[in-house]
Amino acid sequence: MSFSQSTTSQALHLQREPAHATATIGAPLLQAQHVVMDYYAGSAIPQSQPQQQQQASPSPFADHIALRDVNVSIQAGESVAIMGPSGSGKSTLLHCLAGILKPTSGQVLYQGTALSSRSDTERTKLRRSDFGFVFQSGQLLPELSALANVALPLMLNGQSFGEATAIAAKWLNACGLAGLFDRRPGELSGGQSQRVALARALVIQPSIVFADEPTGALDQQTGHMVMDMLTDATQQNHCALVVVTHDIHVAQYCSRILTMQDGQIIEEQTL
């Protein structure tokens, strides 16, 4: 399945004024300040660890400290890649930025407000209404058609099935998936599935899209196709993009690359 870059460029820009357009000009959209994440401390206790171990002295490898004093600023419409080897803390940083994890210390500000000051329910609502997510796999419900999968976030936000499917259909068309509305994820190729996931992330018109290894399960050619679409769609909708990846070729699609190691940002590169 192929699609034309120019067609996509036109098609992926859809209607509504993004919610974040009202954000204060110049102020970062999202900001991590001195973020430390220790999985043994506070709320973030790994499920697999027995209770006694939580109180034990830290392991000599201290592998439970995933982030050490991380500072990041992301502007509206900007695209940032987070790179680094396994265990460097990339996904933990993404989860902290998205309000999924509460950092042990430091804070994450979204539109100037600390995420930690919001309740769990408020953060869940925020993720549903302002943030889009694309993962490596397992993000589409296998029992639902492509159309229903894309309509789901809108229904979660309270829209009717009729309205939600009408909007979802437009986004699927924009992602070059016309004619595949009734297919289930199991009946789609890897690239098609990721495009459905992309449509699902964008359908709520988010301020930021968080993508965790979005091309990890794809071949190189399909991976480039998905990244083209992801960056085009986010730029045209004035939506920030945060991509976690191992792949430098994927990272080069972004305007800035942060390299992590042992829970710290060791290098920042602007392209």
Binding site: Q53, A66, G87, T92, F135, L141, E143, A151, F161
Partner: protein, 470 residues
Amino acid sequence: MKTLWRLMMLLYAPARTTRNNRHTVSPTSILAVLAFATTTAMVLTVLSGLHAFMLRAKAAHAWDALTSASSTSQADPLDLMSGIYVTLAIFACLILLVPIGTLGGAAARLAAHRRDAQLSALRLAGATSMQVTWLTAVVAAGQALTGSIFGIIGYIAAMPIIKLLRFQNREFTWQELWLGIPTLLLVVLVVTVLALCSALLALHRVIVSPLSVSNRTTPSALRHWRAWLMVILIALSIGLFRSPWASSALGIAFIMIMITACFAVLNTVGPWVIHVSARRMMRHPSSAAHLIALGRVLDDPKRAWRNIAGVALAVFVCGITALCAFFASDSGNDITQQIFLHDIGLGGNLTLAFATILAAVSCAIAQVSAVFDAQREYRTLVLSGTDMRTLDRARLLEVWLPLRAVVLVSIGCVCVLLFPLVGAVVFMQPITLIAFAFGIVLSMSLVLLAVTASHLVAHRVVRLDRREDD
């Protein structure tokens, strides 16, 4: 065989535990053992009832033979009805076969639960497909063996309660309820072998490759012939029930067989009813929870049916026991008849209780199993802002929507089947209707409660505070 044994020892033998390396039993294994234990305990308890009535019938016939030369007038009239009690007990066993089989099947599926990562890793390490299949099946059989041993303990623990029940105007004795060591061993063997076969059958439907585990087949579409089968059987039953022949002893036996057959056919029709009603509702789901629930129901209507099959049976049993309650209240001063009808009512209520417990346990097991199967999807949904309340509601609706449709169809079948036998007057009596409605509401509530219990597992599975590979 030697390699298989080595693989088993490598994977499942108790490891030398250290502070950082504790050997833990997976929740699915515990649930599978629990399900096998419940199945075995139920089978043994039902069999012990049958055994008791057979012993009583045997004793009555011996008494009858001793006194037949003179007169049978001194024998207890209830003893003379022992044969009917045995027939009714067999009837109860027959109708409990389906929910017991359903629970056993659910347990076997859970035991053979696709440990995708582990199975694929074994294939990647060089184990053959056959070795991996047998390894999983043998583990399932091991869980069945453990569960059935716990089931025996459950059966023995329940004996003092069962002993208190009064049938034929007297309590059971220990001797009547004790099935004997050979029978217990036989039941353990049967449960284990059935689990092994069921696991092999389940694994036949999946392909375990070095990279993943996937389904070999997709579920086939459900056809209309299922509904026609039910209609034909009900028509045949009504014809039989209306014939004068129905009042004979053989006729009564046939009535029971036909009711059992109708229930068996309901097992074929149930998934079709669920499919049709869910497809209709899927045109305009009213919320995100409805959308998720209906998607899962339509994905596999047979699985949705298995969740609630026990309640459909409970509706049948409710109908019969409600009628008994009516006849018992209307039996005048004939003590023997009153006791007989009381016993039928009590037997019906016991069957109803067993069917409901089996349905609730099956449903809980199936839901928990489904949570483990879909944990990755649940987790990503929660990551992207789906609240747990929506997912809990979706799981509840996944059971409630088919349950509602199937209960309505079952009530219709019961009324159509029993109407020619007893007439319209009985259905107008408040006592019949109250007993009927109470039984149905109770069994539905228990099943929904079981689904609620699976929420705890789901909340645990989708916890977001553990570190991933980053």
